[in-house]
């Protein structure tokens, strides 16, 4: 792992550190805004988060991968135990079949309700197919508007997944397979986080990814031991399938945790305080059945949630990173 990482750094010449975008965090430390963009540009379909998990494990010193596949960093020992959890995964798609003409059809993965238009946001847009031979660009087909003229309306129902045909340029099923595409290859919209306004970032699932970036930065900043007791930072799988990964972390590290010792990240808060540098703390959205009774959700104010332009403020992300650093360092939330 270490040599792979060194190779990656050497190959890129650490060019990313010279990113023109300035760090938003008010103190010296990692370039949080670049990290937000990079995490937002990654894909991690629920249940097939392996690439994201590998990358996180490579980046975080002393990271472990637990039995549920979560990436976990544990520091210190004894009580109290403070746990912060951020989900890696997103509701996405896998290839459901390949037609004789070489088009890919899709099966949605993840049961979280993402709104009535989530699949429509695929129509006529670029996607990335993660095949055996690497990532492939493709597009989801749409009727040409010209050819609808003079014909009865195809209906005003939103576009649905049964009409999603991914075109990777293959002309037959065997040609698609030769590109490395298989049944179950993960597929997501092409990720291209978009900065606008003074400190806003838009992208699919950007609220969760920005929260994970904040946790990553807080973990990297934290000195050994931090405060008294044990700290656990966990990047979890399958949030969109009954919070499976987070439940395993809670069972392993936070069973019987006192109120305030378990922080869940990655949910979206109302946008009212967007850009105010505040984090919204709530408890009502967490599934108690999974053992999250002691948990508090720390959420970023989010505009246009669950759309491809879901928006957060980098100022708020910086505030979340600071707050997480303080929490993991021993301060009570």
């Amino acid at each position: 792992m270490r040599s792979r990482l060194c190779s990656a750094i050497a190959a890129l010449g650490c060019a990313a550190l010279a990113s023109p975008a300035p760090a938003q965090t008010p103190r010296a430390g990692p370039p949080l805004d670049s990290l937000v963009i990079r995490l937002a540009n990654m894909s991690a379909v629920t249940g097939v988060e392996d690439a994201m998990a590998l990358e996180l494990a490579a980046v975080l010193p002393l990271a472990q991968t637990d039995r549920a596949g979560n990436v976990v960093v544990i520091r210190g020992s004894g009580e109290p135990t403070r746990v912060a959890v951020c989900p890696m995964d997103e509701v996405g798609y896998v290839v459901g079949s390949i037609t004789p003409e070489g088009y890919l059809t899709l099966r949605r993965v993840g049961t979280t309700f993402m709104g009535a238009l989530y699949d429509q946001f695929l129509e006529g847009q670029r996607v990335t197919v993660f095949g055996r031979r690497g990532a492939l660009p493709g597009v989801v087909g749409v009727r040409s508007v010209h050819l609808t003229r003079g014909r009865p309306s195809a209906g005003e129902e939103p576009f649905n997944l049964d009409n999603a045909y991914v075109d990777v340029g293959a002309t037959s099923a065997s040609a698609a397979e030769a590109l490395g595409v298989d049944l179950l290859s993960p597929v997501t919209r092409e990720k291209r986080a978009h900065r606008y306004g003074t400190d806003l970032v838009a992208g699919l699932d950007v609220s969760a990814r920005a929260s994970c970036a904040a946790l990553l930065v807080a973990t990297l900043r934290l000195s050994a031991g931090g405060g008294r007791g044990t700290t656990v930072a966990a990047f979890t799988r399958r949030r969109n399938l009954r919070w499976d990964g987070a439940a395993f972390v809670v069972m392993s590290h936070a069973r019987g945790a006192a109120a305030g010792d378990l922080v869940m990240l990655g949910e979206s808060a109302a946008p009212d305080s967007l850009g105010a540098g505040a984090v919204v703390a709530t408890r009502d959205s967490l599934p108690a059945a999974q053992g999250f009774q002691a948990a508090t959700a720390w959420s970023l104010p989010t505009r246009y949630a669950r759309t491809p332009v879901e928006t957060v403020s980098l100022k708020d992300v910086a505030a979340l990173a600071d707050r997480l650093e303080a929490f993991l360092g021993g301060q009570r939330p």
């Binding site: 990290l35 040409s144 050819l147």
Partner: protein, 376 residues
């Protein structure tokens, strides 16, 4: 349980590792032998596709086209913003028209809260732009924004979002105007050219950057000294909002110079796609260029279609005839007695961010343009 230690010195190193590791795996390179002409065609069309030019705001595309012309060309720009290149001499004149503009939006109003009301330029499904990144093209530069999702989905969600607005993230009209945004500015979605498998490619505004590219390739390849008659190549403005640029040329050239033919170089909207009805427009991608014999604006005289197909066949240039929907610039010439010969390439998903072509069809189209200029 493990214990770790980091300090200020290691933060930078780990962050370097973080940023390197988070770089996406490079998309697979489609390395293979390419048919003749594809590399040059891809180079030019990718440059034009990645240049923005909503109808009425074509300046950047116009400049890009002019830069790509050969040294012998002496382009002029008329008062409608069209680019004109004349070559050869003698009668009869033939005219080729490809358009510079693309679909998009213009700002119709700026609200008190800083949001932009948008007016569509051209025909397309508004849903394809809903909740997507946006770029506002101002006099002082490009300002990023987002196309806003609809305010409410409602009990019975519909595909169409209704009128779209853009949010530049400012919060007030004054702050929006301070970014240089004004009523009338063009608004687009970010776009890029991407290779698909084989010789397929995707991008937005292939309509009509592919036509503009084909015309450029033909001009670059032909020898103007060998042309048997005068030829006028036009890269026109405002096709998507009413064929305005071409109409201006037609009114000035059609009546006075009596062209023998006008060739409209534009998309053949193909039904070679999984959601289309294939009762017509079924020209397959990779099958060559297409004579757009019948569309909503013109009918090419059958004798001309037959003659052109025979000529291409004799030269082993793949060319088929078909019928599709849409209008074309050449139709503005017909009232001056000029036959309109539509030429195109098969294209999927027209007027969407995901248009798909086969680059070999673009090469064939350029060859047909050159052939007709030199031999027909």
């Amino acid at each position: 349980m493990t214990h770790g230690r980091t300090d200020a010195r290691t933060h930078g190193a780990w962050m370097a590792a973080a940023l390197a590791a988070f770089s996406l795996t490079p998309l697979r390179a489609f390395a293979q032998q390419e048919p003749i002409g594809v590399t040059e065609a891809r180079d030019i069309v990718s440059r034009l596709v990645e240049t923005y030019g909503v109808s009425g705001h074509e300046a950047a595309v116009r400049e890009a086209v002019i830069k790509l012309l050969p040294a012998w060309a002496n382009p002029t720009i008329d008062s409608a913003g069209n680019v004109l290149v004349r070559a050869g001499s003698g009668e009869p004149l033939t005219v080729y028209v490809a358009h510079l503009d693309e679909i998009g939006f213009t700002v119709s109003a700026i609200r008190e809260n800083g949001q932009l009301e948008l007016r569509p330029a051209g025909g397309f499904f508004r849903s394809l732009f809903e909740a997507e990144p946006a770029l506002v093209h101002t006099a002082t530069g490009v300002v990023p924004a987002v196309f806003m999702p609809r305010d409410s989905v409602g009990r019975t969600p519909a595909r169409d979002p209704g009128a779209l607005r853009a949010d530049p993230g400012t919060g007030s009209r004054a702050a929006t105007e301070a970014l240089g945004i004004r009523v009338g500015d063009a608004v687009t979605m970010p776009k890029s050219f991407a290779r698909l498998a084989g010789t397929r490619a995707t991008g937005r505004s292939f309509d009509d950057r592919v036509g503009s590219t084909a015309q450029l390739l033909a001009v670059r390849h032909l020898d103007p000294r060998r042309l048997p008659h005068a030829v006028l190549f036009v890269w026109s403005t405002r096709e998507e909002i009413g064929l305005d640029g071409a109409r201006f040329v037609a009114e000035h050239v059609g009546a006075s110079e009596h062209p023998a033919r006008v060739y409209a170089i534009d998309t053949f909207v193909s039904s070679d796609a999984p959601l289309e009805i294939k009762t017509f427009a079924d020209a397959p991608l990779g099958g060559g260029a297409v004579v757009r014999a019948v569309d909503n604006s013109s009918v090419t005289p059958p004798a001309l279609v037959d003659s052109l197909l025979a000529l291409a066949r004799a030269r082993h240039i793949p060319l088929v005839a078909g019928t599709t929907n849409g209008g074309n610039d050449g139709s503005t010439f017909t009232r001056f007695g000029v036959p309109d010969v539509g030429l195109g390439w098969p294209q999927r998903y027209a007027h969407s961010p995901a248009e798909v072509i086969d680059l070999t069809d673009l090469v064939a189209l350029a060859d047909v343009i050159q052939l007709t200029a030199e031999r027909w």
